[in-house]
Structure formats: structure tokens, C-alpha cells
Amino acid sequence: MVVQHAEHHEEHAHHPQESWFRHYFLSTDHKIICFQYMFTGMAMGLVGAFFAYVFRMQMAFPGVHVPGWGLVTPADYNMLITNHGAIMIFWVAMPVLIAAFGNYLIPLMIGADDMVFPRINRLSYQIFLLSALVLIVSFFVPGGGFAGAWTMYPPLSAKAQYSLTGDGSTVFVFAVALEFVAFLLGGINFVTTAMNSRAPGMKIYDIPIVVWMIVIASLLFMASVGPLIAGAIMLLFDQRLGTAFFDPNRGGDPILWQHLFWFFGHPEVYVVLLPAVGIVAEIITVFSRKKLFAYKTVLSTAIATGVLSFTVWAHHQFVAGIDPRMANIFTVTTLIISIPIAEMMFVYIATLYGGSITLTTPMLWALGFIGSFLIGGVTGIFLGSSGADIYLHDTYFVLAHFHYTFFPIAIIGTYAGLTFWFPKMFGKMMNDTLGKWHFWLTFIPFNCIFIPLFFTGMLGDHRRIFDYSNFSELSTPMLQHLRAFATVSLLVMLTAQTLFVYNFVTSLLWGKKAEKNPWKANTLEWTANSPPPHGNWATLPTVYRGPYEYSVPDRAEDYWPQNAPS
């Protein structure tokens, strides 16, 4: 009886008359929108990775004819680094971590049939796609793409006579502004859905951590982006309408931009961090068969981090010419934020204690995240200490530090989530052996890229310099070897990504069919079919307990799904 009902519902939900185009491009189904965001984000990731390849080749072998690009001029170089940064943060980390995983996981993990505003959701993706296209257009306008660093500091970004990329700058700022609109719409949806559409019985502390994290991240984004949207419009006016918000010659102030930018820019770090740590929480509990250690502590550290992240922005500006007394306040707040983040890492490590750990591919990625993010965290203390930042600011030490945060977040976190939820998303199992090869061939080269860059930074390499041979102290053989080693490691890592593509495609076509709950996990998405149909469930689930009841004593099974009646 129930089965029949389910079949009927599915057929109804499938809309058989839907064309292929309608299904994949105009769908309001949160799962399809997830795929749209994810594949667009990954395609942009290829562009960002290609840019990194080109400028790293120039760093390692100055003046080389880079295969696929040619000679890298200083103008090319600045354009490549600028757009590499912007793409990786705005068009890869944001869409994949927040939008794709948020879209996929929130309704499925809280037991809802879709987002509360499905059409706004579709609009959000369409605006995002538009923003990506506008950005790509900016590479081809006269003068070339914007080349003033992704932080867009005026006066360089505001005046064509300084940047020599007048059109590129305007189109770039426009693309960034559009991208913000897309994520504002998405964020509204995430928060509303998580608060209003939870399955009956799902109390506030029964919500899986990753859902919490995406909601908190969306709130942070919405609260921080306002000043930057205002700033972006002021910058557009400065570029095109002759206003002087940031023009010191006519009473404006270039430092104002830095405040507006970093007031958004620092919370943004946590906007992308939180979904990644949420994904890691889901994975380590499943593959260590452990209850998450101190659920409420994780939640409070995430909220504390979020609130504190609004008070640290000027640590990007210690030597930018702000009142030196102000640096002291921001040193204090910056070091305070180390406390909740460290605590979150302790909680994760404590979760492993007493577990029964299986090192599957997703688990390797999740553990790889913790192990490498720690390096990103601890090196941040050097930079948060104002005294040491005088020397380290804008060197490769900073670059290595934030790549040790962003790479675990955007790349390791994404691979963790994707390999973990692949069976649910596509109804097939991935090849675990290939997955492990891919992990090690990404993780080891990643460390080999960025560990040497801590040293080049300590030795004085400044960022965004296309050729160090102009600086006698920086053109030593040792530094050049370190740079070349990092570049060669990058080549290895990029090559290894073909393994993932191969594994992804072959598993999708010929992989073993996935059952509903291949990992024996507790959360609600594993009770839906793999892949779930439009509408997710025939009958929406009811929740009886928290998400992490693994290895409960006196039970035969070592897991206890949230929807299983006691």
C-alpha cells in the first residue's frame, strides 16, 4: 500500500513531459540547482587553476614560454593573479561550498521536500551564472582583464590611467556585485528553509552540524556584504561617473575602501570555512562510528567565531597607514578568535577518541582537512601579532598561510563532501581505490607547494612580483629552487585531478549501484532513495533523535537513524 503510494508520487513528481533543457536548466528542484552551482563552480575552478599554472610557471622559470599561454608579460601576470584570487573565492569556494552543498543538504537533512522559495533559488543560480559570464567577458574587453589584485584597492582600481585596464576594472566590479546579489538570494533561502521546514520532531539540537554551519555562514554573509556592495557601487561611480569617494586629490580616502572591503572580507573567510567544517563533522562521525563530541560546544564555537569575525578586519591593514594605536585593538581581537577555532579543532580530534575508524576516501579527505587546516590556523597567529606582521605583511608567508586555510576549505572540503554524498547524489558508488590515489596525489603535492612558500616569504619574497631577478637579495639560487619546487608540485597536483575526473565519469556511468544508506549513517538524507526524486520523499520523515547517535550501548546496530522510532 505504502509502496504503491510512493510510486504514484514519484511518477507525479517526475513531470514526464519536461524537456531535457527544462529539467536541467530551468528546474526549481534544489538538487538540480546544487548540480548547476557545483558544475559551474568546478568549471570556474578549472579557469582559476589554469591561471595559477601560468603564473607559477613564470615564477619558477622567469621568461619561459608557458605552454598554452606563451610569454607572460607583467600585465598578464597581474591580471592572472587578480583573477585567480577572485575566481577561487567568489566563483569556486562560494558556489560549491555554500550554494551547492547548502542546496543539496539543507532540504534533505532537515526532511523537507524542497527550499521554501524554489523560484528565488533558481533566480539565484541564474544571476550567479550571469556573474560568471560577465567575469569571463572582462578578460576580453579592450585593455584586458582587471589587474589590480582581487582586493581592488583604489586609487589603482579606480582610475584607468593608473591600472591601464579601465574597462576590465569596471566589468570586474560589476561581476563581483552581481555575484553578491546571487548569494544574498541564496542565503535568504537557506536560513528560511532551515528555520521553517524542519521535519516534525527535529528540535534545534537535532539539526545536523553542517546545516547549522551553512545557516550561520549565510547569516554572516548577509550581515557583512552590505558595506562591500555599497563600496563596489562607490567604486563604480569613481570609475565611470567621476565621483571622488576614494580619490585623495579631491577629498576622498583610499583607506575607506580597505575598511569596507575587509569588513566583508574577513567574515567571508568564515563564510566559506564553516560549511567545510560542517561537512567534516558529518564525515568523521560516520567513519569513526562516534557521537560528535560536545555538539553544543561546536555550535557555540561556530557562533562565537561568526560574531568575532566582525571585529578583526583591520588586521589586514596593520601597516596600511591606519592609526597605529588601532592595531593594538585588532591584535587582541584577532588572537581572541584563535580560541573558538582551536576549540572546534579540539572537539573534532576528541571525536576520534574511542572510535572505530575506517579510512574510506571521504574520511581521508576529512582527516586531511583537519591535519592541514591546523597549519593554516597556527600560522595565522604570526600574522595576527601586529609586531611580526610588520615584517610578514604581503609576503609569501601570508600567501602560504591563507592557502593553508582556503585550500583545505575549498578543495579538500569539496572533495570530502562530494565523495561522501556522491552515492546519494548520483545513485552510484565511486571507486574507492582510485579515490585514495587521488587523495594522496592531491594532498602530498599540496603540502609541497605551500610549505616552501612559507620559507620564501620568511626570506622576503613579496607577493605579486612577476620576476624576482630585479631584486638581488631575492634572486638567489636557493629561493629560485624553492619556487621551482612549488611549481613542479603544482603540476603534479593538477595532473592528478584527471584521476578524479576519470573516477567521477566512470563511476557515474558504470559504478556499482548505491543503496539508500551505503555508509550506515544517521541523518535523514540517507533515508531517501539514491538519487532522491523531485520532492525527495513520498512521505516526509519524522525525527526522533539527534543526528550523531552512533554506537549507542545495548543496541545491536552501531547506528540509529534519526527517523527510526525508538
Binding site: 557521537k291 601586529s386 612577476f466
Partner: protein, 232 residues
């Protein structure tokens, strides 16, 4: 203070406050890397090995909400707070010395960044800036060892950042403002000056040199320069 700093193994320390900055770097290194990072990473790896899945062994059920369990989080938490206080105290102390508390200066120099060169205005033989005998140079800053300098940093067009790694000094130059600061070279020699803030296509083409001389060498340079200036 404690012998050679870590950075000093590769980059000489040539200003009076370079050792202070190396000291805060080293303090953070020992507390955060040598202690915290090593301990936490070792514990993390040990737990992965120790609690690998074994047949017939079920995982433990630990909520982490009990007081005796929470200790494992709260004690490290308090220890981090103590470490943070130590680091903040030293960092602010160094910051105060370098950026806030300028000692009385013997001389003043003006440093101007523009796309894409550094220019320097040195006081001439009279030791005063903005007089007729000022010496202007491009890409070369001449200083006297053990003399305290006040610098006035300006930018003509976009943001630049004066970076002298051997001094451990960095300061952004902002168009429309004069940023002041100080340094006191303590060794003679010739070292790199770089621009540390992206300033357009030629950002990588802004090298300059700081030349630290003995008073005698400096006087010779001054007179040679004044003579050639007079001869023109």
C-alpha cells in the same frame, strides 16, 4: 636577546628594532608551532592509528557533554588563553616600539613612491630637509650607520608600500597623506628596498637600494654629490 633569531639565519638584521621583530616571530614559533602544532598534530595522528577499526570492537559512546569529558576541551582552552595573553603582550610591545614610539631623530628623509620608482630626498650638508642643499636620488637611499632617522613617506599616484626586509620594516605609502615613522640602521652595507603593495603593471620593476655608510663615507658622498650638483 637570545642569540640569533630564526629569520636572521637568512635575512640580516640591520635596524635597531629588527631583533625585536625577530623576537616576537620566534616567540610565536616556539609557543604555537613547536608546542601547540606538534602536540595537536601528534595526538591527532596517534588517535587515527590507535582507533582504527578492529573486528568485534565497538566504538565508545561519549557525548562530550559531561563535565569530566569537557575537561579535555576546557583545559586546553584556558592554556590557549594564557598563550594568547603572552603573545599579545609581546606583539603590542614590539608594535609600540616600532610604530608608535619614535625616538628623537637625528635627521629626516623624505621617501616618495610613484609608478614605478622610489625617490628619496636626503638633507644636504646642513642636515635639514627642505633646504636648498637637499639631495634627491632615485632608487638609492643613503643612510649613516647608527643615526636615527625620521622618514616621511608619500605616494604620488596609487598605494605603494615601503619594504626594507633587513630593517624588518614595512609601511604603506598613501597618496594624499604623509605617513611618518623611524628607523636606525646598525650595520653598514647595501640592501634591497621593495614595493610591497601592488601598484600596477610595473610593480615588479620597483627595486631600490638602501646604502648604509659610515659617517666618513657619507660625507664623501655628500660632497661629491654637492660638487657635481654645483658643477651642473
Amino acid at each position: 636577546m637570545f642569540g640569533k633569531g630564526i629569520i636572521e639565519y637568512w635575512v640580516p638584521a640591520v635596524s635597531s628594532y629588527a631583533h625585536d621583530i625577530d623576537f616576537i616571530f620566534d616567540t610565536v614559533f616556539w609557543i604555537v608551532i613547536a608546542f601547540w602544532f606538534v602536540v595537536v598534530e601528534a595526538l591527532f595522528l596517534w588517535l587515527i592509528v590507535r582507533y582504527r577499526k578492529k573486528d568485534g570492537v565497538k566504538a565508545q559512546y561519549i557525548t562530550g557533554e559531561q563535565k569530566h569529558e569537557k575537561r579535555f576541551i576546557t583545559w586546553p582552552h584556558y592554556l590557549i588563553m594564557v598563550c594568547d595573553v603572552v603573545i599579545v603582550a609581546i606583539a603590542i610591545n614590539v608594535w609600540y616600539k616600532v610604530k608608535q614610539d619614535a625616538p628623537p631623530a637625528d635627521e629626516t628623509v623624505r621617501i616618495v613612491g610613484q609608478q614605478w620608482a622610489w625617490s628619496f630626498v636626503h638633507p644636504g650638508p646642513d642636515g635639514k630637509l627642505d633646504t636648498a642643499d637637499d639631495i634627491r636620488t632615485v632608487d638609492e637611499l643613503h643612510l649613516v650607520v647608527n643615526r636615527t632617522y625620521l622618514y616621511k613617506l608619500e605616494a604620488r599616484d596609487v598605494l605603494h608600500s615601503l619594504s626594507i626586509p633587513v630593517f624588518r620594516l614595512k609601511q604603506d605609502a598613501i597618496p594624499g597623506r604623509i605617513v611618518t615613522g623611524w628607523f636606525k640602521p646598525i650595520k653598514t652595507g647595501t640592501y634591497d628596498i621593495q614595493c610591497a603593495e601592488i601598484c600596477g603593471f610595473g610593480h615588479g620593476l620597483m627595486p631600490a637600494r638602501v646604502i648604509i655608510e659610515t659617517p666618513e663615507q657619507h660625507t664623501a658622498w655628500l660632497s661629491a654629490h654637492s660638487a657635481s650638483a654645483a658643477g651642473e
